[in-house]
């Protein structure tokens, strides 16, 4: 595969791209399952069997009901009279159920038993029922609380998509309680306040920020307890104790602080229980105390993963009558954490939350009548059936319930098998039929205990199957999907790398042919190339560490500055001075001087960029330039903004008039650039000083005018420029200043529009970059205007450096340098790997009405300003490189030429990105049980995906522009030549 034709090359590239896209989407959908949640909240339709359309219509009327009317309506419909009036939900953060209930049917250790005397006495006397409630990973507080109150297991993406609000918007228990007019009080972890803003009538939130504090956090909760217990104006009291989790984090499970902490919790339980008994006696209503923990902890006190120690959380119902002894075999008293939601909903007679996947804990209904127990199971089954129905469109068991009840007893005992739809449907029908026949028999007075038991068993079978299937849909990570995604990505990565090595070998041989007379070219690996590859390795390794991901900006900066220093070293090397005339030596000296100056400028601007935003997660409090400027007030910032705008415009005009042939065309482009620049400056002057005005109509209009000007200007330039570019034929060529045009034969100059292509690429690239920068000046935060200017300057300086490079210098090295520069700039603009740094405010500039799509696009433009700028600069880069020698080889044709010109600027970014993407995918897969998988690794993965999209767009723009320009120029040249021949 030494030489490959252009079509073949393109096909390979496109194939690799498609592989990558397929792999990425397979992986993303496998790793971040989108939970098909039902919207809305359960109403009274949940007390009717699913499938009856007549009932659904009636739900409209309950809108007008007052909370009390709704409450009595629910009580009438549910058929289960609530046993309790009030609920105390006591959450002990991080308490493993093992501490209270023991493990494998054995009671807990002696010291733990002694630490909780009152709770143990309640358990042994049958006043309380305890369960091991298995939590789903990630075992971190907020998702677990959500699971407990909504019964649903959330996916990651719905966390990511709701990054601006943490409030729980899905149907949940607390929302249901609120609808029936409950008053709620919350004491403890302020996560509850984030989840349910404005829901509690009284609250005292404590922060879990100071992990070292194990005493004060809990005292802050308990100090209100006496007061709250004596009041009767609440229905739900949430207590969330953080101290035990903090004890675990400090000293692990067997910390010396653990015993006293457990004793303290036991005291709280005792205090609440005694007061509830008292309250019952005083006729303040019956109170149920539910003690739960959100997750367990490992031996060393950490949590987040999915080991037994971490997922083993507690669910303890104090106040329910219980006939069974409490150290049951693990099969009997282990439930799921999500089961708490439907249980509480049924106990209090509210509809089960819509997305619940839990199953009612049957032991909690032991004291109810047979009728009520079956009814609870029936309601739970209906709710799960509805959820299954929403996810399996093929599920339809007919409108059985509307047919009224008459059991087809024959079908009631069949074995269920087949597809999941059939199985679930059959199980559900079995249970419903048995229940109906039991009711029928009961009316006749001929019911038997066996019928009852088989009905219960049938319901449980359905519930278990449906619940397992539903929760597997959410938490199951389909290995095959992951594996195929990773394999596809790896394949595409290998194709890219293969293409790059292939083309660089080809370029090298071409070079050797070209430079054979000078005999000075040899294929050696220089230090910079080794370092560029080393950087990839460093990045891949750093991805495995969560703190390196948090502080990624340091890596990029360190690496890019080291690279500049290496280039500086190389530039100093250059005058070898052994061969050649004095003139050549002088030219070489001049070249190295310019290069040294360029690199020094790059180094200084890189340092300023690094100092602009502190960035990251851990060191954000340290001083930086942006904080210092912000202290100066809005006038200082506006001054900085205007200065950088003016500097940007002068730099742009300078670069424009550096352009060799000063035609009218350049003047027109310059004029357009000036106009749009002044429009942006006007916008800054008028409207930037406070954010409130940005919603103002005139500001919006001006922003829209700027969008239109920039858009029309850019597109117009790109389309018109190749047509208007003056074409020089024959004699004009030799006059034109090209670096090594002497060696290019006249024939080739004649055949290919090399000079014109370079000129138009230069102009188009410049227009792209300048327009992008002006757009950023408008959209970015005011403080970021200077970094944008510095980035533009860096890129232009880099172009200068590259143009002075020797032609045999490795092109891929320069493109990789540009790519790295773009990534360093990305972080210099204040971005990080957390979703919190996305600038949401800028995404609404110039939008007259709210549109998710448009503001999403603006957000993308703001976030990926720097990588996109670098990719757009590739158009200019193509013009800066001296490609004329490429055309000297024998097999010169259009395809070969395009390939040589476009291959590196397009393939190197794609290749580098594919390496990082593939590596990070594998890292994410390995880290899927890590404590920080949801807080650090997954957001970073979203950024990596977005970078990939950014690179696709950028590379597409570059390739399309170049191909279009080339086609037009070639067409015009052919035309002109044929006309010329005709005239002659």
């Amino acid at each position: 595969m030494t030489t490959s034709t252009c079509p073949k090359f393109t096909i390979f590239t496109v194939a690799a791209l498609i592989f990558q896209i397929i792999g990425l989407s397979l992986f993303v959908f496998g790793f971040f399952p989108v939970k098909p949640a039902l919207s809305g909240v359960s109403g009274r339709e949940s007390f009717f069997a699913p499938g009856c359309n007549s009932v659904e219509n009636r739900t409209q009327t309950e809108m007008g009901l007052s909370p009390n009317e709704l409450k009595s309506l629910y009580q009438d419909l549910s058929g289960i009279p609530p046993l309790f009036d009030r609920l105390i939900l006591m959450v002990i953060d991080g308490l493993p159920a093992e501490f209270v209930l023991g493990k494998d049917g054995q009671p807990p250790r002696k010291d733990l038993m002694d630490a909780m005397p009152y709770t143990q006495s309640l358990l042994s006397s049958g006043m309380a029922i305890g369960y091991h409630a298995k939590a789903a990973p990630p075992t971190v507080t907020m998702p677990r609380l959500k699971a407990m109150v909504s019964g649903a297991i959330g996916g990651f993406l719905d966390v990511a998509f709701n990054f601006n609000t943490q409030a729980l918007l899905d149907d949940n228990l607390l929302g249901q309680f609120l609808r029936i007019g409950w008053k709620m009080v919350m004491l403890g972890d302020e996560t509850w306040l984030k989840l349910f803003p404005g829901l509690f009538v009284r609250h005292d939130g404590v922060s879990s920020f100071f992990v070292k504090d194990t005493v004060q956090v809990d005292q802050n909760v308990t100090r209100h307890l006496g007061n709250e217990l004596s009041r009767d104006d609440w229905n739900l009291l949430v207590l969330h104790y953080l101290g035990l989790d903090h004890v675990g984090h400090i000293g692990g499970r067997s910390s010396s602080l653990m015993g006293p902490k457990l004793l303290e919790m036991d005291e709280v339980v005792k205090m609440i229980h005694l007061s509830t008994i008292q309250a019952h006696d005083h006729d303040q209503g019956r109170t149920l105390l539910v003690v739960v923990s959100d997750h367990g902890m490992t031996e060393s006190g950490n949590h987040g993963g999915s080991s037994y120690e971490e997922t083993d959380s507690l669910a303890l119902f104090i106040g329910l009558k219980n006939q069974v002894s409490h150290y049951l075999s693990p099969t009997h008293n282990s439930v799921l954490q999500v089961d708490i939601a439907p249980t509480l909903a049924l106990l209090y007679g509210v509809p089960i939350p819509k997305n619940n996947v839990g199953v009612v804990i049957s032991g909690t209904f032991d004291s109810s009548t047979d009728d009520q127990q079956l009814r609870a199971l029936e309601l739970n089954s209906w709710q799960l059936y509805r959820l299954v129905e929403a996810q399996l469109s093929g599920l339809s068991c007919g409108d059985f319930a509307c047919r009224g009840f008459f059991g087809d007893l024959a079908s009631g005992s069949g074995e269920c098998s087949g597809s999941i739809e059939e199985t679930l449907c059959c199980l559900f029908m079995n249970a419903a039929n048995l229940h109906n026949s039991w009711k029928y028999k009961k009316e006749k007075g001929s019911e038997s205990r066996d019928d009852y038991r088989s009905t219960i068993a049938a319901y449980h079978e359905f519930l278990k199957t449906a619940s397992e299937w539903l929760s597997r849909r959410v938490t199951d990570k389909p290995v095959s999907l992951h594996a195929s995604g990773v394999v596809a990505m790896a394949v595409s990565c290998l194709i890219f790398l293969g293409l790059i090595t292939c083309i660089s070998r080809e370029v090298y041989t071409g070079e050797k042919q070209h430079l054979s007379n000078s005999s000075n070219s040899k294929m050696t690996w220089c230090l910079e190339e080794g370092f560029i590859l080393g950087v990839v390795l460093i990045l891949v390794m750093s991805m495995g560490s969560s703190s390196m991901i948090e502080e990624e900006q340091y890596i990029w900066n360190f690496v890019i500055c080291t690279l500049y220093l290496l280039l500086l070293r190389k530039a100093v090397q250059s005058p070898s001075g052994r061969s050649g005339s004095a003139l050549l030596l002088k030219a070489q000296n001049r070249r190295s001087d310019v290069q040294v100056c360029a690199i020094l400028l790059l180094l200084i601007s890189a340092r300023i960029l690094r100092g602009w935003h502190q960035g990251g997660v851990n060191w954000t409090h340290l001083p930086d330039i942006s904080k210092w400027l912000e202290q100066g007030g809005s006038n200082t910032i506006r001054l900085v903004q205007l200065t950088s705008g003016l500097l940007m415009m002068s730099l742009g005009l300078f670069a424009l008039f550096l352009f060799v042939s000063k035609t009218k065309l350049v003047q027109v482009v310059g004029f357009f650039f000036l106009i749009s620049g002044f429009l942006v400056l006007w916008h800054i002057m008028e409207y930037q000083d406070n954010a409130l005005v940005s919603s103002n109509y005139r500001a919006t209009l001006l922003a829209q005018i700027i969008y239109a000007t920039l858009g029309i200007g850019t597109v117009g330039t790109v389309i018109a420029l190749p047509w208007l570019m003056p074409i020089q034929i024959s004699s004009a060529c030799s006059k034109h200043k090209t670096n090594s045009s002497t060696s290019v034969s006249f024939d080739i100059q004649y055949k290919f529009p090399l000079v014109e292509l370079r000129d138009s690429s230069y102009l188009i690239g410049l227009v792209y970059m300048l327009c992008w920068c002006l757009l950023q000046l408008l959209l970015q935060q005011p403080i970021n205007s200077m970094p944008i200017f510095l980035l533009l300057m860096q890129i232009l300086t880099n172009m200068l450096y590259c143009s002075y490079n020797r032609p045999q210098n490795k092109e891929w090295l320069e493109v990789a340098l540009l790519y790295y520069m773009g990534m360093a700039g990305h972080f210099a603009l204040g971005n990080s790997n957390t979703l919190a740094t996305i600038d949401v405010a800028g995404a609404f500039i110039g939008l007259s009405s709210h549109s998710t799509l448009l503001s999403g696009i603006l957000m993308f433009i703001i976030t990926y300003a720097s990588p996109m700028l670098v990719l757009l600069s590739m158009v200019m880069y193509i013009s800066v490189k001296d490609t004329s020698y490429l055309a000297t080889s024998q097999n010169v044709d259009l395809g070969h030429f395009m390939k040589m010109m476009l291959a590196f600027p397009c393939l190197v970014p794609l290749g580098l990105n594919s390496i990082l993407l593939t590596a990070y995918t594998i890292v994410l897969l390995l880290m899927r049980n890590h404590l920080f998988v949801w807080s650090v690794f997954s957001p970073k993965y979203l950024y990596v995906c977005a970078t990939t999209v950014c690179i696709y767009i950028g590379v597409f723009v570059v390739a399309a522009t170049e191909i279009y320009t080339y086609m037009v120029l070639a067409f015009r040249r052919k035309l002109q030549v044929s006309i010329g021949n005709g005239v002659l």
Binding site: K522, S545, S547, M548, E550, E551, Y554, I555, N557, F558, C561, T562, Y564, L565, R569, K570, V572, Q573, L603, I604, A606, R607, R610, G611, G616, V617, N618, W619, L622, P623
Partner: protein
């Protein structure tokens, strides 16, 4: 073909070097060993003095410790390397010492700029640390070269831009200097991590890295000197 070219190049270098050798003192392996040993001991003594007499170390008081180290180390390095100056007939010992002393602040400036460019914090409270660190780095990198080569640009270029030393003296200058720089570069990696250790502060771990790199590189350079001496002996035979 390529190898031949390389050989040719090497030969030309060796020819050049031999002319240089004539004008400088030749360095035996034993001399090289003692020079490196004394430099290394200088570092160790400075650290020991700081620990036992002033009760400070790099972590507790980086600025003063670094100052102590470079005050102890600078006469050692300057006096030792000046002995091996190029062209000893025309250039007196004192002149060599003087240019070594001049190179100390100049090299410190270059090192400080390099560190700041690579991300060393800028600020009044960091200034003494940066200055003391860069003087120490200058002692490891610039001062020996300045004492030996003076202002001979071609030597400097070959040492630091091309990294092509080819005689014992050049090994002794070039390799420890590169070792110190690479060590310092590697030493900066733990700085952004959130381990909350006091040694992650600038310039503590960078100094540790630089000193480790310097010591390792001295051993390597000694190895090169010994190998070079053997090869010369073989050739003579």
């Amino acid at each position: 073909m390529q190898e031949e070219k390389k050989k040719n190049k090497k030969k030309s270098y060796i020819a050049k070097a031999s002319t240089a050798e004539n004008s400088s003192r030749s360095v035996s392996a034993l001399q090289a060993f003692f020079v490196h040993l004394i430099c290394g001991l200088g570092l160790a003594i400075a650290l020991w003095v700081a620990h036992n007499f002033y009760a400070i170390n790099l972590v507790s008081d980086p600025s003063r410790t670094l100052r102590l180290i470079w005050i102890v180390q600078s006469p050692i390095v300057t006096l030792l390397y000046s002995w091996f100056r190029l062209d000893p007939e025309r250039c007196s010992y004192l002149k060599a010492v003087g240019r070594g002393m001049l190179a100390l602040p100049a090299g410190a400036l270059v090192n400080a700029l390099g560190a700041i460019v690579l991300g060393a914090p800028v600020g009044i409270e960091y200034l003494p640390k940066t200055i003391n660190w860069s003087v120490l780095m200058s002692l490891c990198t610039f001062v020996p070269a300045a004492s030996v080569f003076g202002s001979s640009w071609s030597h400097w270029q070959r040492m630091f831009a091309h990294t092509k030393p080819n005689e014992p003296l050049e090994y002794m200058i070039c390799i420890p200097a590169h070792g110190a720089v690479i060590g310092a570069w590697l030493g900066a990696w733990p700085m952004p991590l959130d381990w909350e250790r006091p040694w992650q502060e600038w310039p503590v771990c960078v100094t540790y890295g630089a000193m480790t790199g310097y010591l390792v590189a001295m051993v390597v350079s000694l190895g090169f000197v010994v190998v070079h001496g053997r090869r010369q002996n073989l050739k003579r035979d």
